[in-house]
């Protein structure tokens, strides 16, 4: 996902929010990961918005994508310049209405935004884990989130919502904890990466690992593999846009010049944009986290994990009502992948709605303001909320 963090056009916001932490899996009760490695203690950073109703029936769990965090909406302080990453969708009267619902957003494990990840201190050595951090999967991330919800005393989730890698977690939640999940909205996502998606992730990872500063993941406290991480982010950004989006956004326009420079400076606007995005990213993201999270996304395969290779069987345990949404110009997770999951859900007699939203902004469309998307999500939530109360 790219960053489109911006203030709400009408200035409507949930207001001040606070990042909280929950730690569990203290040794010796460490968590056994899918790889059979053990991890603990595990800290999860999370934020909550709105208030939990008496029946605890208004819980919405939002799951973030690759570079996101628990800061889904609102501001940390009065002086805070930037709201959370989905400010346009989450807040009073918005698509996900914080006046009505209790929203939880937790940072995934493996990340560097407050939850335990490769940059966290390894209690065994007193130093950052680096590459000693075990490989985590989408399933592991979801199990950690489940521990958080147990801690918060939540037994039913009205809706789990997420796009991209967040959408993978949505699917995993619905299949792994069918009794907890009333409804689910997987956005711009897939039940498993295509070779194309894995290929781009591998190019991005190689960019990091080829940076001499990467030093097999041991770079904390010294020069970081910023060149590699910036390059990885540039590759990512290309996959988040689309031919049309790039044509509209940049075309062949030159950056602050009238003619070619006949050297290798950033001549074109698109070059300048990618360089800027790459450089901006290294200030806030950890290269090892990028490696771990992209690997988790590549490993994710709902069919393999839950369906003995069959998409239909993978959804056999699910009980949730689904709203599957894809975007016309998303070539990273094209519509055919969403249709495949819809097909499997139908075969299991699940209540599913599907809409392919016309949007030119490629994979990133799910993060951009779209009246249709907000209305859709709002109506779907409303219906499930009313029917859950009955």
């Amino acid at each position: 996902m790219s960053e489109y963090i911006e203030h709400d056009k009408e200035g409507v916001s949930v207001g001040l929010v606070e990042k909280k932490y929950f730690t569990f899996a203290e040794p010796p009760d460490t968590m056994i990961l899918e790889s059979n490695a053990r991890l603990g203690p595990i800290t999860i950073a999370y934020e909550t918005l709105g208030s939990l109703n008496e029946e605890k029936s208004n819980v919405i769990l939002i799951l973030h994508a690759l570079s996101g965090d628990s800061h889904v909406a609102g501001y940390y302080s009065e002086e805070d310049q930037k709201p959370g990453w989905w400010e346009i969708m989450v807040g009073p009267g918005k698509g996900i209405d914080t006046e009505k619902y209790f929203v939880i957003c937790s940072n995934i494990i493996g990340s560097c935004m407050g939850s335990t990840g490769p940059a966290s201190i390894n209690p065994g050595t007193g130093n950052p884990y680096g590459f000693d951090f075990p490989v985590v999967t989408i399933g592991d991330m979801v199990r950690a989130q489940k521990a958080l919800l147990d801690h918060l005393g939540i037994e039913k989730i009205l809706c789990v919502i997420g796009g991209s890698i967040g959408g993978m977690q949505v699917l995993e939640w619905a299949v792994r904890y069918p009794d907890m999940v009333v409804s689910a909205i997987p956005l711009a996502t897939t039940t498993r990466h295509s070779a194309l998606a894995i290929a781009f992730n591998e190019v991005a990872r190689q960019a990091i690992m080829a940076d001499p500063n990467w030093n097999k993941g041991k770079y904390y406290g010294s020069a970081k593999p910023n060149l590699g991480l910036a390059l990885a982010r540039m590759v990512g950004h290309v996959t988040y846009l689309s031919d049309e989006a790039m044509r509209r956004k940049f075309g062949r326009r030159l950056q602050n010049k009238n003619d070619f420079s006949f050297n290798f400076d950033a001549d074109f606007q698109v070059e300048s944009y990618l360089r800027y995005q790459g450089q901006k990213f290294v200030d806030r993201f950890d290269a090892n986290s990028f490696l771990y999270i992209t690997k988790a996304a590549d490993y994710f395969d709902l069919r393999r994990q839950h369906g003995n290779g069959s998409e239909a069987e993978a959804f056999a345990k699910a009980r949730a009502r689904f709203l599957v949404i894809s975007f016309t110009s998303d070539w990273l997770y094209p519509t055919y992948q969403s249709r495949a999951m819809v097909k499997a859900m139908k075969k299991n007699n699940l209540d599913v709605s599907f809409c392919e939203i016309e949007a030119e902004w490629g994979h990133d469309a799910f993060l951009l303001y779209n009246e249709r998307l907000s209305t859709l999500i709002n109506g779907f939530l409303e219906r499930n909320f009313i029917e859950l109360l009955k």
């Binding site: 709203l323 249709r339 139908k346 075969k347 209540d351 809409c355 859709l376």
Partner: protein
């Protein structure tokens, strides 16, 4: 000879949909093919406690339906009906779409697999005004139900009430109920035609079940 059906609800504007709705038993499972903006499904959900699903290929209409709290899938009806298990639905509704279907035989067969009963409605091509137009002008007919030119019409199938009855016999399915109505499909009021149906009805509505006599 006129039998006027009272308007069934404030919600349903189209007369043909009022007739269809009156046939559906409360609490049943319904699939509405080409559900548009979901008027029928919403009515059935609110008034008959029906569990409904719609299929619609236009994104804007699908979005409207979902925003109304309906379960609707965006897609092509011919494809989408293939994924359901046998008898998933009590009723499958194909309202004013049959005349636009490329392979009606194949589609009807699929519908009778996934649904216990199928409701089909279509504009009657043997209405007197159409017959007269062909006879007098010698040109492809146009009327309020079939307002297109021959070169831009989505209605690629020319069906009459008699044709459809024969079609159901040939397909080996059973007509459980049929009604001929005289109305413009936008009209909220219409009436059932029982005399000279083939000539006077603008639409036919059929309730079909499996395994009838040949």
């Amino acid at each position: 000879m006129k039998q006027t059906i009272q308007k069934q609800s404030g919600g349903l504007k189209r007369f043909d949909l009022q007739v269809i709705a009156s046939w559906i038993k409360p609490g049943s499972r319904v699939l509405d093919l080409g559900c548009g903006e979901g008027d029928l499904l919403l009515y059935l959900k609110q008034n008959k406690g029906v569990t409904g699903t719609g299929i619609e290929n236009r994104e804007s209409k699908v979005a409207l339906c979902i925003a109304k709290g309906l379960s609707v899938l965006q897609g092509d009806i011919n494809e989408e009906v293939l994924d359901y298990q046998e008898d998933t639905f009590d009723y499958v509704i194909l309202s004013q779409t049959l005349q636009q279907v490329y392979y009606p035989e194949r589609l009807l067969k699929s519908l009778l697999v996934i649904g216990r009963k199928v409701i089909v409605s279509f504009p009657n091509f043997s209405h007197w005004s159409i017959r007269v137009q062909v006879l007098l002008t010698g040109m492809a007919p146009k009327n309020e139900q079939l307002p297109y030119e021959w070169y831009n019409t989505p209605n690629i199938r020319v069906i009459t009430l008699k044709d459809f009855r024969k079609f159901t016999r040939d397909q080996g399915c059973k007509v459980l109920k049929e009604v001929a109505i005289n109305t413009n499909h936008h009209d909220t009021q219409g009436h059932i035609v029982s005399f000279l149906q083939d000539w006077r009805a603008t639409y036919g509505i059929f309730l079909i079940g499996k395994g009838g006599k040949k």
